[in-house]
Amino acid sequence: MLPPPAVFHFLWEISTDLVKDGASVRTYGRLISYEPEESKAILSGQQSSAQYNMSVQTTLVEPFQPTLGAQYFVLGEIEKTDGLSGAILHARTLSNVDGVDLTLLQKAIMEQRCFFKERLPEMNVQAFNCKPSYMKNL
């Protein structure tokens, strides 16, 4: 009855195999285009000087006030269609978070991931750079 938890992912990870088809994700990006007739929005993110785009199906979260160029935080399910480029995110929630500190957000997500990796003993060999930047001496 309750939907599955939506794990944090970055835009550039979604098109890779890290995210399976049908998975629930949370992600964020800048709104660069919106087509109300087709309920399609495109979010974009930047990582190591490469632009990543992702299309978002906004049927469930309409109507909303689209502000082009603003940062949006979205939660929903991924649908991967073979053939077409990239995946489609069917948004269940969409909120304008313009003004968010992107670097801090990224750090926070990495920190949390590191911690989760630590907790799983001997399982996944770290795929991420595990340097908890806020770890103090205990």
């Binding site: 009855m1 978070v97 949390q112 911690f115 806020y134 103090k136």
Partner: protein
Amino acid sequence: MAVNLGDADADELPSMLWGLDPVYSAYSKLYITDILQMKESRQVPGVYFYKTHPLFQVDVLGTVVYKRERDDFYCYGVDDSTGVINCLCWKDEKWSDQGESSKCRDPSGSSRGFNIEDELKRLKEAERKSTMLEIGDLLRVRGTVKTSRDAREIRANCFYKVNDPVMAVQILHMLEMPQLYRKCYDQPFQMPKDDLGGTEAGGSSHFHRLLSRSVLALKEFLLEKEVARFRPYDVEFLLHPLIQSCSAEQESDQPGTSFATQIRKLLKETLSVLQDEGQIFRKIRTADEVYNVTEQDKDLHTAIKDVLREDTKREKYAEKGCHVLHILSSVRQRYSQNLSRERLLNCNRALVKKPSPIAQISQCVCALPAEWTSRPHKGRARSFMTRRSGFQNDTVERVSIRIQLDRGGSRTRSAFCLISSCASEAEVFTMQFRTVLDVKVVDVEKRRNPSKHYVYLINVTYSDSTSHIIYRRYSKFFDLQMQILDKFPIEGGQKDPKKRIIPFLPGKILFRRSHVRDVAMKRLRFIDDYCRALVRLPPQISQSEEVLRFFETKPDDITPPV
């Protein structure tokens, strides 16, 4: 199934020491996935263990991904990216009357000065708005963890919408959680050291640990073997492995105590704990120590059933049930003065579990007003109780149990009743309605109070083979019919008139005199047909609470007014 005294128990901190762990008293900020996976304590249900820490209160922050609203509560599904959990959030009564006040605010706004009433209204409105969330909003919940129907959920003590326009709150939450885990939750619980001597504190906690294990072992043994009576030496063998395993672990902290002395001491303490809890008791205080097990005590069971059967016939208890203290004093008079309240409660719980005509009504931990309405209704009652109680969350649980009669037919039915005042922790029990086997309307009688009307004399035969004449007037029949048609719309033909199985009642007379003998006599035959047809309907209707309550004898039926 042999009781494994080895690891399972050793992992859990004994309940006597839980208060020493600060995590236990705090609202722990845990990831939802941990809340969902943590194990329930074997010693006390309702308390959970995250690694070595006992806890029952949590604090979560997450996005609302599911919402369900009822008159008196919200149920929000909260997702914090590690898991999703349902949060039950009761509405505050004072908000329900906010409807008009928000509109009658001063429109001019030109009034200078501080109008306290307006400000209070605006404060209340703001409070109310902070509890109405939509999917996608950020919610903070602080509450107790409950497991109901195999699902974990949080019963909120405090909940509000968090305004997070630039995600600052969520980012902070993500950063601080790992630290919190590393510093607190993942650290094993350390017993605080006694200043006088480490061994003393260590020794007593060791003994406590041993004691809880032995209590658990003894309880499980008595349950499994269905022991009715025993002497101490019968159960001594259960404690042998405990003492043996612990003396292998560490050197004895009390030099000079033999194995036998240790066993005797442990046994004495264990039996005393079980006695205090009411699980076992001694009927006769002789030198020969014989302990009886409460659950198996048939005499006590029968005494309780007799008390309930008689008392629930009286008007004072008929609708509201018997308070446990009343049962206690009545049973003490007939059975034994030496009856503790815990023992009675134990017995009642056992009775309720078995098929018997006794049902538990409610359990509440607050003071309720005495002027409880006499027409109980499920939903209204629950919201009434939570509104009046000092606590907003689940301190009131209503239990509706399907029971089987133990004699006179084996029909199942659900039955429940409601309680009135209770001073402290209380449980109330009552007997349930018997079913109706046969009905015959035999005559009509004139009554003068409260005004002139006619009652029908109905000869009812009950499932316990007794029969009685009851007196009912037409308007009561009408009310009953309305209730039944409301409750069973399909059987009442609302969707499809052809499917109607509920019988027709002769019509209400609206425009002429109805309280005349002629009318009553003419209706008699139809009322008789109606009653007969009603009790021949399928059990969900013919044994529903409304019908059985209607045909049950009331005090006026037993001693009819002149």
